[in-house]
């Protein structure tokens, strides 16, 4: 049989044969040390919070006014607050609602904002304009007015805080997602999807959004800490999580009046936890950015 092809570099051949063991290739996505550290830190904190009943005999809401403001002892490892409640117990239980609200108030806007941004970036015409104008409007509306007023309308508590934050914080996700979509839209694979005859909705949800989601997800990591900060701030104005549900914002603010008396521990203890979470999320954010970075 005579060679009729364009001769090609034969030497390549040895290297070219890809030997893949099994049917699925081992796709070792390199999970960086950052992601591991961050996840371990966060899981530890989460574990403590979930296993709270096992780690403390105290009811975090149980007051014992006669045992208020005790220092650390074997009975109360972190002491008690001004109601005589065990601080360690409050710290453990306090994370439940805070983290739940903070995470949900990131997740929801992340999903909504990403979809809206993708739509705004992918299509031309009136709908994107409306979305972006709305985003402009919300972002020029003072955040705390909206939150505070919503908390008044809906009654204070985790649900209101969640709704209020969500109502505002979809905007950055929309902007991020739109920006990414605008870039992606010019990439040829979107054109190639369209050329395959896929409808716009199909392309949007199966190709655009999965490819742009990573940026928003990475941003969301730092947003969780921001949300914790908002909960703390609302507590400062007495609009946070409703007592007696233990939460960190309330704990910090309970400690606030003691600052003038030179007692810092009440505020410092929950602050340290939030800083640790912030650190963990920062690791996770960077780690995720590396993992989610779509290799070209």
């Amino acid at each position: 049989m005579s060679e009729t092809k364009i001769p090609v570099a034969q030497a390549n051949k040895d290297y070219a044969k890809i030997k893949l063991t099994g049917s699925k290739p081992r796709r070792r996505k390199r999970i960086g040390a950052e992601l591991v550290i961050g996840c371990v830190m966060l899981s530890l904190i989460a574990l403590l919070i979930i296993a709270a009943p096992l780690l403390t005999p105290y009811d975090p809401t149980h007051q014992s006014l006669r045992e208020a403001m005790l220092g650390s002892s074997s009975a109360h490892p972190l002491g008690t607050d001004q109601y005589g409640r065990d601080i360690w117990a409050r710290l453990l239980y306090g994370g439940r609602i805070d983290l739940f609200v903070a995470v949900m108030a990131v997740f929801t806007p992340l999903v909504i904002g990403t979809i809206l941004g993708a739509i705004a970036g992918y299509f031309d015409g009136a709908v994107p304009t409306v979305i972006m104008r709305l985003a402009d409007l919300v972002s020029s509306f003072p955040f705390y007015v909206l939150v505070i007023v919503l908390v008044f309308v809906l009654g204070n508590g985790g649900m209101s805080i969640f709704i209020a934050i969500s109502a505002v914080s979809w905007v950055p996700y929309t902007r991020i997602s739109r920006g990414e979509t605008l870039i992606l839209r010019d990439r040829e694979f979107i054109a190639s999807c369209k050329a395959s005859g896929f409808t716009d909705g199909w392309v949007l949800f199966r190709h655009v959004i999965p490819n742009i989601a990573s940026q928003g997800i990475v941003y969301a990591m730092s947003d969780i800490v921001v949300n914790l900060g908002i909960i703390v701030t609302l507590s400062y104005f007495g609009l946070g999580i409703v007592p007696p549900t233990p939460d960190w914002g309330q704990m910090m603010n309970d400690g606030q009046q003691f600052l003038a008396a030179g007692v810092y521990s009440l505020t410092v203890i929950p602050t340290i936890v939030i800083i640790l979470i912030s650190l963990a999320l920062s690791f996770i954010g960077d780690g995720l950015a590396n993992v989610l970075k779509v290799r070209r």
Binding site: R133, D136, L137, S139, S140, F141, P142, F143, Y144, V145, L146, I148, V149, L150, F152, V153, P172, S222, V225, V226, L228, G229, V232, T233, Y236, F237, M252, N253, Q256, L259, A260, T267, T271, I272, I274, I275, L276, I277, S278, L279, S282, F283
Partner: protein, 314 residues
């Protein structure tokens, strides 16, 4: 500045109209949704029911909502911003004394944030050292997790009480900038982490970019490359992040104003919401809307000045 630039600015300023209308409308209905009677606030808890009713009538609070809304829009269009229910003074007057405070805090905070963020970001981006990266990461986490009221208390304790460098809640006539330094710094600390993150990211990108390599290949010194190539390019994206953060600050400095006893718009806003002082809240949201639009415009102009490609992108 070319003619087209003015045209652009003009167009952007036109955007103020829908923004103002949107902000005002949103506030109007939100406040109407909230329980609480402004008349009670105005007359105090001891006032009689008849007095309350009479006051509500005279303020038109008993009219149908749409009438109130139309009247409100009419007032807004004619620039009649009304009189504060609680301070019983013209809203404009209340806001005018506080506006400079807030503006100065915003500007100073932006400046401080840059002063904090820039060296740290450059340090991380250029050193390439793990230790530095982690050190700055911890700084960021601490800045993010530290509640503002606590930071404020500590700053006051150290710089106002121990060292006596800055006044607390100055009572001098006019605006005492010295009293605004600590609050601005506290604000800067709270926004610095986000700026550091984005600046580090973009600096790292630009430090590793091909144009920086080419700059070096041409024989430029490290400093020249850092400043003219890496930093200028790297700061472009940070400018918009800073702009958004500063925009967010408008009215978001409530805690700082409370803790540092500086009378800014945030505090007025909080008080007015609490007091159901509709005319003040409405005017404030409009003012905030305008400031935010202007901040974004300035951001975009700075962005455009830094990045010649922006003009092309439109």
């Amino acid at each position: 500045m070319s003619g087209s630039k003015w045209l652009y600015i003009g167009k952007r300023l036109l955007l103020l109209i829908p923004t103002v209308w949107g902000c005002a409308t949103l506030t109007f209905f939100l406040l109407k949704l909230t329980p609480g009677d402004p008349a009670v606030q105005a007359l105090g808890p001891k006032a009689s029911k008849q007095a309350l009713e009479a006051l509500r009538e005279s303020w038109g609070l008993n009219d149908p909502l749409w009438q109130q809304y139309l009247r409100f829009l009419g007032d807004l269009c004619t620039g009649n911003l009304g009189t504060s229910y609680s301070a019983k003074a013209p809203v404009v007057e209340l806001i005018a004394t506080r506006l400079p405070v807030t503006l100065i805090i915003m500007v100073l905070a932006a400046v401080f944030a840059v002063i904090i963020a820039l060296p740290l970001s450059v340090w991380v981006a250029t050193s390439g050292s793990r230790v530095v990266t982690e050190f700055v990461r911890i700084l960021n986490a601490v800045a993010q997790g530290w509640p503002t009221f606590f930071l404020g208390a500590i700053l006051l304790q150290i710089f106002a009480i121990q060292l006596g460098w800055f006044p607390i809640g100055s009572v001098s006539g006019g605006v005492d900038v010295a009293a605004l330094i600590l609050p601005s710094f506290a604000v800067a600390v709270s926004i610095a982490p986000i700026i550091i993150r984005s600046l580090t990211q973009s600096l790292q990108d630009s430090v590793n970019s091909e144009y920086v390599n080419f700059g070096r290949a041409k024989g430029l010194s490290g400093r020249a490359v850092l400043f003219n190539y890496a930093l200028r390019n790297g700061s472009i994206s940070a400018v918009s992040v800073l702009g958004i953060q500063v925009g967010f600050l408008v009215g978001g400095t409530l805690v700082v104003e409370n803790v540092f006893a500086v009378p800014g718009l945030g505090q007025l806003l909080m008080d007015s919401v609490m007091k159901r002082d509709l005319p003040v809240v409405q005017t404030l949201t409009v003012v905030f809307g305008i400031i935010v639009v202007l901040v974004y415009l300035i951001t975009d102009l700075v962005y455009g000045a830094l990045d010649p490609r922006a003009a092309k992108r439109g």
